[in-house]
């Protein structure tokens, strides 16, 4: 019996394939697979997004994703772990990220999948920029500017 967890990590400009993820996660001998897909949403309140652009510190992002996958495999008994992130332009309705885990039982698959996406969002050096229908753009997350410093020190 193989006690290790097989994993797949990729960052790519090409569209992501759910089929590839399911195919990968279904091998081994899982009883349950949980899969999370991030999709470019059109409407945020009254703002209409046309597309997202993802920037990344590519080499470090891959390193961080591998850390996260290793932590997941240490934290839960998993069969397989899958993480794929798209960068560059992602139009509305298309998938920007797929994370997933397979396990003998569903608890572990859900917990790992949730951990993967939460930690990816907070730790992995990838950033999205919204391009809105009115032509404006905005990097996410919106950051508070440290005003006092900006006012008191000229460039």
């Amino acid at each position: 019996m193989d006690l290790g967890t097989d994993s797949f990590v990729r960052i790519q400009e090409e569209p992501l394939s759910v089929e590839a993820a399911v195919d990968f996660l279904g091998r081994g001998d899982p009883g349950g697979v949980d899969l999370f897909l991030g999709i470019t949403r059109r409407m945020t309140g009254h703002k209409e997004t046309v597309h997202l652009e993802y920037d990344a510190y590519l080499e470090m992002a891959v390193t961080e994703l591998n850390h996260i996958v290793a932590n997941a495999a240490k934290s839960w008994p998993l069969e397989r772990v899958y993480v794929a992130h798209r960068i560059g332009t992602v139009p509305v309705g298309q998938i920007s990220v797929i994370v997933g885990a397979s396990a003998k039982h569903r608890n572990e698959a859900f917990a790992a999948s949730r951990y993967l996406i939460d930690t990816l969002k907070s730790e992995v050096p990838i950033w999205k920029k919204e391009t809105y229908a009115d032509g404006s753009t905005e990097w996410k997350p919106e950051l508070a500017v440290h005003e006092p410093t900006r006012r008191s020190v000229g460039k």
């Binding site: 991030g38 993802y54 920037d55 990344a56 510190y57 080499e59 470090m60 992002a61 390193t63 992130h85 920007s96 990220v97 996406i117 990816l120 969002k121 907070s122 730790e123 992995v124 050096p125 990838i126 950033w127 999205k128 920029k129 990097w139 996410k140 997350p141 950051l143 500017v145 440290h146 410093t149 900006r150 020190v153 460039k155």
Partner: protein, 82 residues
């Protein structure tokens, strides 16, 4: 003065207008001192100084981490992948 190249991404790269800056610091120096030095000369870095994390050789480091010549240094604003 040693030259220390620092990688920029996302809103910092856009605001500064390039994906790399040179910090005028004496190496070795702490990650915190390096960002402070960059902030002195760059208003976008100054504006986001309070949320910037430093990565050295593709790993996050605390501000006390000592940067040496040859290290790959990047400054990272809060991420928004997914």
């Amino acid at each position: 003065m040693t030259e220390c190249r620092v990688l920029l991404f996302s809103l910092l790269a856009e605001a500064v207008g390039k994906r790399e800056l040179v910090a005028a610091v004496e190496l070795p120096c702490s990650a915190g001192a390096l960002v402070d030095s960059l902030a002195k000369d760059s208003s976008p870095i100054r504006a986001y100084r309070h949320v910037i994390r430093v990565a050295v050789n593709r790993e996050y480091v605390p501000e006390t981490h000592v940067i040496r010549s040859g290290d790959e240094v990047a400054i990272i604003t809060p991420t928004s992948g997914g």
